[in-house]
């Protein structure tokens, strides 16, 4: 077997770009689940909204789907985030005052509805044929786009990490640990839940928009729960729920495992390829089980922010000792 070096390099860029996009979505889930304990199993829905918004806002005018506004990349990202956030807000209004299991049911329901509407309502996104011709910003060169995605990932990481370390993030953790306690500490837990849910969903929409510009094409089948929801959960749990570095690391590791097994199954005789790809899903499931049993805190466990005594009092403590 001869190795085509340039082919390998471009495959590497492809892999890294998708891993970085998943990193953004994994950070988003960490805001909702890792930091706040909100059980969102409808990531795919917000991801799809982001992707379609980007497509509709940035592609040239077309009779086959909504929009075609021909606006710049940046506007697409902002619209993607705004619409995902708005949908999250509406879902939140209905579910965040209820017990947490209702959020899980509602989110998976909403994400499936979004996918089915996109599939059947041709006027929105051209149905199963999807929207093509979504351009990359600056240049068609995949290396340039990888740089753009890495930049967005870095910015998202810094913002989310700052939020986590702030008093805002502290209230989220408190309410994750003990809802009644947070309430008794005077916090409006509904407000904080809503903020975390909306912020996370906006970032999921951002991830979807990055994905649309990378592949250049969106269609409903890209937003099956297995790829867009389940895989992200495995990434966050494997990387370390509650830890933003872990969320990003998990995205890269799991995406490499996932793609690596695709290379393997492609080597199988044609008759077995279908079974092989089903086995990949099974493998990821088994991997998740092993992680949960052997290392439930993930590769990078949640770090405790260092909150040492204020300088004055620690000096006193030493005096006493």
């Amino acid at each position: 077997m001869s190795i085509d070096l340039s082919g390998l390099a471009s495959y590497g860029v492809f892999l890294l770009t998708l891993a970085a996009i998943y990193g953004v979505v994994s950070l988003a889930l960490n805001v909702q689940w890792g930091m706040t304990g909100l059980f969102n199993i409808g990531i795919a829905g917000f991801y799809a909204i982001g992707a379609y918004c980007a497509a509709i806002v940035t592609t040239p005018p077309s009779p086959s789907h909504l929009g075609g506004l021909g606006l710049p990349f940046g506007v697409g990202l902002l619209v993607a985030m705004a619409v995902s956030g708005l949908v999250a807000f509406l879902v939140g209004l209905l579910t965040l005052k209820l017990r947490e299991d209702y959020l899980a049911i509602a989110t998976i329901g909403i994400s499936e509805i979004i996918r089915l509407v996109l599939k059947n309502e041709d006027w929105i996104g051209n149905g199963v044929r999807g929207i093509a011709g979504i351009a990359r910003p600056l240049s068609a060169n995949p290396l340039v786009y990888l740089a753009v995605v890495l930049l967005v990932l870095a910015a998202t990481y810094l913002a989310v990490e700052r939020a986590r370390k702030s008093p805002w993030g502290r209230v989220l953790r408190a309410l994750r640990e003990n809802e009644l306690g947070a309430q008794a500490a005077g916090k409006n837990i509904y407000r904080f839940r809503m903020e975390a849910f909306v912020l996370g969903s906006m970032i999921m929409g951002l991830g979807g928009a990055l994905y649309a510009h990378f592949i250049g094409f969106v269609s409903p089948e890209a937003f099956e729960p297995v790829f867009a929801t389940f895989l992200v959960w495995v990434m966050l749990i494997a990387g370390g729920s509650g830890n933003n570095k872990g969320a990003v690391l998990g995205a890269f590791v799991i995406w490499l495992v996932w793609s690596g097994t695709e290379l393997l199954t492609n080597q199988l005789p044609a008759d077995y390829v279908t079974q092989g790809s089903a086995l990949r899903v099974l493998l990821i499931g088994v991997l998740l089980q092993v992680i949960l049993l052997r290392r439930p805190e993930g590769l990078l466990p949640e770090e405790r922010p260092h909150v040492g005594a204020s300088p004055a009092s620690s000096a006193e403590a030493e005096d006493e000792a």
Binding site: A159, R162, A163, S166, P167, W168, G169, R170, V171, R173, A174, E177, N178, L180, G181, A182, Q183, A184, A185, G186, K187, N188, I189, E195, L199, E302, R304, P305, V307, G308, A309, S310, A312, S313, A317
Partner: protein, 262 residues
């Protein structure tokens, strides 16, 4: 300070609290006692805004606060603790307390992201306040311990500490002494008295430990089967026939009297 007027609450067919009325006088330490299942904790939950009453009114300084959510009551200075401590287990003791102060600018996501300087300055002030509270409760040595690792008694102190992190005026303590060893219990009682004297906290305390009630509380309110059956000083309560009936059953109470005779 707090006036409870004809408060009722039923859970399904169980009338947990039935037409309860009494006042919690400002500046005092009111005891709330009664056998298990008398409806004391449900009453607390209603006053603290966690459970909505079916009927009746709660007045805080003359203002009708019935049905207000917990966080709004908190802002008015009404704070409660729990019988079973509700600490944030995977956060340090220090963080547990730092969560509490209301109106921190860093709790606003936008300023948390965009005004880190102001947030940092405020964090410094909050941290100073935490140090004072830890010092007051004499639990500075566990400041950086995860709250989930504390002993039962230390968790109770932490619950009390939480009420000290805000401008509380009215504090509801649900069985602060339950599961606390004698030494720590003394410390707890001292802390309550000091908060009452020095900071003017008004307390209402549910407690089964009669020594603690006798030491701290005046007046004492007795509940049984969802109703208030007696109110007065601890001595009045001790002599009250209906109270003894409720706690011991009439026969046992009479037997106790006979045994006590020389």
């Amino acid at each position: 300070m707090v006036s409870i007027q004809g408060l009722s609450k039923a859970f399904g067919g169980l009338q947990a609290v039935n037409q309860c009325s009494f006042d919690i006088p400002a500046g005092g330490i009111t005891g709330l006692i009664g056998p298990n299942g008398a409806g004391k904790t449900t009453l607390f939950s209603m006053v603290a805004g966690a459970v909505r009453p079916d009927s009746g009114k709660i007045l805080l300084d003359g203002e009708d606060v019935t049905g207000l959510p917990t966080h709004k009551l908190f802002r008015k200075g009404l704070v409660r603790t729990f019988q079973i401590p509700h600490e944030f287990s995977r956060m340090t003791v220090r963080e547990n307390l730092m969560v509490v102060p209301p109106g921190q600018s860093g709790e606003n996501l936008i300023s948390a992201l965009l005004a880190p300087g102001r947030v940092r300055a405020q964090e410094q002030a909050v941290r100073q306040k935490v140090d004072d509270v830890l010092d007051f409760l004499q639990i500075t040595h566990v400041a950086n311990e995860l709250a989930g690792n504390l002993s039962g008694g230390q968790k109770k102190l932490l619950e009390l500490g939480r009420t000290m992190m805000t401008e509380a005026r009215m504090v509801l303590l649900d069985e602060p002494g339950a599961g606390v060893n004698r030494t720590l219990l003394g410390k707890l009682a001292d802390a309550i008295l000091r908060l009452n004297h020095e900071r003017g906290y008004t307390f209402c305390i549910i407690e089964h430990d009669m020594d603690l009630i006798a030491r701290l509380c005046q007046p004492v309110v007795v509940m049984a089967h969802g109703r208030v059956i007696a109110e007065g000083s601890m001595d009045d309560i001790r002599r009250n026939e209906e109270v003894r009936e409720a706690y011991l059953g009439g026969h046992a109470a009479r037997k106790l009297d006979e045994d006590a005779k020389p």
